[in-house]
Symmetry: C2
Subunit: 748 residues, 2 copies
């Protein structure tokens, strides 16, 4: 009788509970600063996809919805590409205008920059193009005079004043409104893409403040670039647009596909290099990169590049930022200086940045502005400097860098560019460039780490380009004056200029960028797209590989990995190989002298016991076993899910008390007649937890974690549960093996 | 006493057996037509690496060895790149010479082709350059006359004769010496890269015969390209060079890294597109593509491209095969015809090839030669045809395709190219092109599948280029005669040629290639590198995406996947998503009514029982459990390894008899005193087999198999062994789900 009653009671409660087996709100979401479970997210997405597909034939509306769903991937990358391109264009235009504001204003139209202001004044000669009556320097406006020491000091003062104002505004905005807006953002984006949650890092607030402060920081003349932050801006766009599509907003794994595409779009607009952007996303930032993402990234990068080209902020309607065309090929012996530049790049890449984040932005901005003004190569916009350094000297080139004797006498007696002896202009340029190099190196080291949006790409390229141009001119003059040396004799005819200093600048820029980021293929492709020089791929490759090797010799990690490590993010680098011989049982918890692992049994615990276990431990999940005696594994339940499920049951189900039985099995266990209603938790039980045996080498475990994107993995021996390994355990073990502090890994 | 004796006996035998725990030769290798175990191979490689690293500091010799080991990866890809580039150059030169041999010979030097022969005769005009006294057509040689119907027939006959001879020689060589040399080889290379063993497919014999017959097949004028087979040739080089380095020759996983790089080098030399080659390897052929392989592939591709450029088989010293420069931009309304070309490409891609492999090569060659000769567009080399179709009509262009009125009157009254009305030459060219299109389509369908080396890239590009040029000229004439249409009015000025038919040809070629291969990004990059046209990336992208979508709508798989499926290779496509809801227990063996799974117990079987189990089953491996009662899993042992270990023990150890005990544990079980010496098999036991629970969704299982490269996976329920899932089981299940014949998967 009591047995029958129990059975009837159980069947009623089973019926009631089955009604409650609809998804509990909140289950399957993540806390801030936690790692996502890629496998679960992907399963969720396939489930959603199946549901839509099965409903598709029911009605026209459902069919439309399924079409919308199928196209939403393309839609969201298109929107991201459009927005990234547009924002990049706006940033370019406004930063340019603000930058010129430091020198003067356009009287005819305040919102014109220097170049636009003087666009119409076609009466002046090519060299005097910069000087037009509408454009007034601050000295002309305030003192009414254009020349003389007084006006120089006035211009100097206003230049510094504006630079300081911009820098102050930028740092205040970042500090007050969006602390996440500082830096380049690429290390954090790498971490997020690897499956970490940092709420607000890609939000609309960060986007807004980063866009504004990026413009201000660039205009302030600090030694920083806008290229890295543009990737962050593009990722913010991708994240915001993904909220329009439930497919992406509700699934952390799918959202990361959009972010991968967005980072490709970011690099695409930063350099005008769509293919390089895709490769950058693939090689540098993305963690999982399915082929579908490759196509969408390419599409997003293309759309972004074309929007930027339509806006045409540089006024040259070229997709190529630093288009160059050299009139001489390179010779084999030149590989030697190219490799030297590679070594320089590698050394630059192993410089330790970011040790001075406490330095006040204003101090750095003031020093930058004060030291930069007198030297034309430091005063000008860094992108323009790079462009000038890359340029080959042709007969029309007015730059000081191209004052060779053949140009000096101005006659057509010598063929243009054939007399490669340097004129005094080149020598003074060399001095100024050397000073600019030292200045840039020092300021970049101090600037990186400041709490403003800042990228390292353009400053690194500038440093490399200056060094390269100096080496290039040196080799050129060497070849000119010693053309009978065995090295030059074979290649250089007497008087001919067989050396292209611009090419050296290009190679140097690539080497320094490579040293800092440790990119290889994507970098070569970016430089190749930047300059359009397919012919120079071997020098580039040689320098980039050298710089990578030299950089690796001084410390294996690039700037982004170092930053991630400093912040203690849980990032399992796919590039770094795990080479130790430890086994899973040495890494798993509990360790030898630890208390036993907190486990749940499938059908003989009360709610009070469960809550007791949860409150006494801090782990994020609990293995569920058949019984304490057999230790055979049934599944895995997450702490967050258990807590939410209990709260939900308390709210919705009556009769749940502290002595209610909790069970994870399909059917309720047979209970005494007077026991309260049991609580079924099967719906939150993961019945396919990943397991490895205790003998599994850690190299395999690390591989599984990387490739499948796990959060945790259970360890068994002959079918019995022994322990657990989490991502944090693995990272701590790896840190220990590398003689680093395992406590530096802070998040799970 | 007996117990003590048994203990002593056991300790002696343990001692003896421990001596024998050195690796047994043959264990860990694979049979032909079997799948490799990626995880095991990678572990083996890390073990080898650790051994070298630990010895490194012992002596200078060991240090040199470790350096050699560290650099061998770069060495082998350099060698592969060099060899691929050199072979491609030789193939180009010899194929060109043989191709010209069909028309005539050079009297001054037999080994010159037509162009080289007439190189010195600079007295003739540009248009007459092809005709020089040294070059004799067959009619001139044999009949002594250059003109007239007799000589035409003579040339026709000799053309057909040579074509047939080449085709006959090619097919005989393939049939007799290397049957693996036929086809493009890309489907097999994809399968090999995914972890399959086909012995001899990449051997030196295949390389030699494929190189020779490729030259003959191309020269025979059959509608096939050398680009696909060049990938096979490069992979053969990579495989052969990997035998020089034990790191690669003894490890199937590492060898596949070299093959990935080699396939990049192959595409690089096929099209002169190093970046495209790397992306092709990444997107299309490779299965596992670690970042290290990305750099090495890029390097191999570069080396190969530069060797080819140094050989300079095309005599233009350009890396770019079909360099084009168009003088007008494209307009938005042109996207419509471009998308139409994309649809055409998609339709072409869903054509069913390869149904006629029984057709005799000679018949096809004869028909090809006879029909091809009269039409200049089919007689000429396909690459040259594509080049001509891509070309923009400038004032110097002598091609029939460029006979516009402005060229006809020859005066400078009109600016060159401004009068876009077609002259009769264009109309006759249109007719000939239409005929060529039909001919190429039919012949390509029949040629593919013949037992000669044949690629689809160039024929597909030619078909697309012809269709594109026809559409381009049609649009051009439409725009000329109807320049007041609302479509053209905005863009085209009266009389100006705002349409570039060459661009249409380029877009059409990309669309057809995309339809056949279903590549996207790599294809766009290849075409962009082929033509140097960064500006035309949007039209290309639009057409390629359209062709992919259209092709997918008519059947999701590309030509390579179809070929793999037809051959029954076990290829788990990473692009295809598994979307069904089946669970692991529904796919695992044993099925419901099957006999139970063949298992081994860890310490209570005799050798006779073990051999009995092995001989009565055909599976490739056996799970090892604690005991029949508990069914708890200990590990997994492969059939091949067990057989080798038993044979080895029989040969080396005395006293191994049929009633010897076999054990997999660390220590021998306590045996009766009179029992023969036991056999320890622990060294071949895999103690970390992959397991999933029976509740695991198949989508996760498929993911694990793909990402980790497993051969098999064991299925457990609450810690008890239930069954096994192999790669073959998964593929058969997928075939069943797609309503295909599961028996078509033939290999494991």
């Amino acid at each position: 009788m009591s047995n029958g009653g129990g059975g009837a009671g159980a069947s009623i409660s089973t019926h009631l509970l089955d009604l409650l087996e609809e998804p509990i709100p909140g289950v399957g979401t993540y806390d801030d600063f936690h790692t996502i479970d890629w496998v679960r997210e992907k399963c969720k997405d396939r489930e959603r996809h199946r549901k839509i597909n099965s409903k598709k034939k029911e009605s026209a509306w459902e069919f439309t919805k399924s079409l919308y769903d199928a196209w939403s991937g393309w839609l969201v990358v298109t929107l991201t590409g459009l927005a990234s391109g547009a924002l990049a264009g706006v940033i370019d235009i406004v930063a340019d205008w603000l930058n010129d504001l430091k020198e003067g204003v356009c009287l005819s139209a305040m919102w014109f920059n220097h170049e636009q202001c003087c666009w119409d004044s076609n009466e002046t000669t090519f060299a005097e193009r910069d000087k037009c009556p509408q454009w007034k320097t601050w000295a002309e406006l305030i003192l009414g005079q254009a020349e003389g020491p007084g006006s120089y000091i006035m211009n100097y003062f206003m230049f510094t004043f504006w630079a300081l104002s911009f820098a102050f505004l930028a740092v205040s905005l970042v500090k007050v409104f969006a602390p996440y807006a500082c830096g380049s953002g690429i290390p954090e984006i790498k971490t997020i893409l690897s499956g970490f949650i940092i709420r607000g890092y890609l939000g609309k607030w960060t986007l807004m403040i980063k866009t504004i402060t990026l413009v201000l920081a660039v205009a302030s003349g600090l030694s920083l670039g806008k290229e890295g932050p543009l990737v962050h801006v593009a990722c913010c766009c991708g994240n915001i647009f993904s909220y329009l599509f439930p497919k992406y907003s509700k699934n952390e794994a799918k959202k990361r596909e959009v972010l991968s595409a967005a980072s490709a779009a970011g690099v695409s607009v930063a350099f005008g290099a769509p293919i390089g952007g895709v490769l950058f996303s693939l090689e540098e930032v993305s963690y999982y990169f399915p082929l579908k993402t490759l196509w969408r990234s390419f599409f997003a990068a293309l759309v972004a590049a074309f929007v930027l080209r339509s806006i045409n902020p540089f006024g040259n309607s070229r997709l190529v930022l630093f288009y160059v065309e050299y009139h001489t090929p390179w010779y084999l012996f030149e590989l030697f200086p190219f490799i030297l530049l590679g070594v320089f790049g590698g050394l630059w890449g192993s410089t330790r940045f970011g040790k001075y984040p406490v330095l006040e932005v204003i101090t750095v901005a003031a020093i930058t502005a004060i030291v930069a003004f007198p030297n034309p190569y430091t005063r000008q916009n860094t992108s323009e400097l790079i462009k000038e350094l890359f340029t080959d000297c042709g007969p029309l080139e007015s730059s000081q860098l191209c004052q060779y004797r053949s140009q000096m006498n101005g006659s057509q007696a010598y063929p243009a560019g054939s007399d490669a002896a340097a004129a005094p202009g080149v020598y003074s340029a060399m001095w100024q460039l050397s000073l600019a190099l030292v200045f840039k190196i020092i300021m970049t080291i101090f600037t990186f780490g400041l709490k403003v949006p800042s990228g390292l790409f353009i400053p690194s390229m500038a440093i490399g380009a200056i060094a390269g141009r100096i080496v290039g001119i040196a080799v050129e003059q060497l070849a000119y004056y010693h053309h009978d040396w065995f090295l030059f004799r074979e290649w250089c005819e007497v008087g001919a200029d067989c050396i292209t200093p611009g090419l050296y600048a290009m190679v140097g820029a690539a080497a320094c960028l490579g040293g800092v980021t440790r990119m290889t293929v994507s970098l070569v492709v970016i430089v190749f797209e930047l300059t359009g020089g397919l012919e120079y791929i071997v020098p580039l490759m040689a320098a980039v590989m050298t710089s990578k090797w030299v950089g690796d010799a001084f410390g294996r990690e690039g700037i982004y990995e170092a930053h991630i490590r400093l912040n203690g993010y849980p990032f399992l680098d796919a590039k770094e190989e795990f080479t130790h011989t430890t086994l899973a049982r040495e890494v798993m918890r509990p360790r030898r002298n630890d208390p036993p692992l907190a486990v749940l049994t499938q059908d003989d615990m009360t709610l009070a016991e469960l809550q007791n276990i949860i409150s006494q431990t801090s782990c994020n999940g609990f293995p569920v076993i058949v019984s304490k005696e057999s230790q055979r594994l049934v599944g895995f339940a997450l702490r967050r899910d258990i807590t939410i499920a209990i709260e939900n049951a308390r709210r919705k189900q009556e009769g749940i008390m502290l002595n209610s039985w909790v069970y994870f099995t399909q059917h309720a266990p047979t209970l005494p007649a007077d026991s309260p209603r049991p609580l079924k938790l099967r719906s939150i039980l993961d019945m396919s937890p990943f397991t490895v045996t205790d003998h599994t080498p850690m190299e395999i475990v690390v591989d599984i974690f990387r490739k499948l994107g796990l959060r945790q993995c259970l360890v068994t021996h002959n079918g019995r549960l022994l322990g657990i390994i989490t991502k944090k355990d693995i990272l701590r073990h790896m840190a220990q093996m590398a003689n680093q502090d395992p406590e530096s890994i802070m998040f799970n």
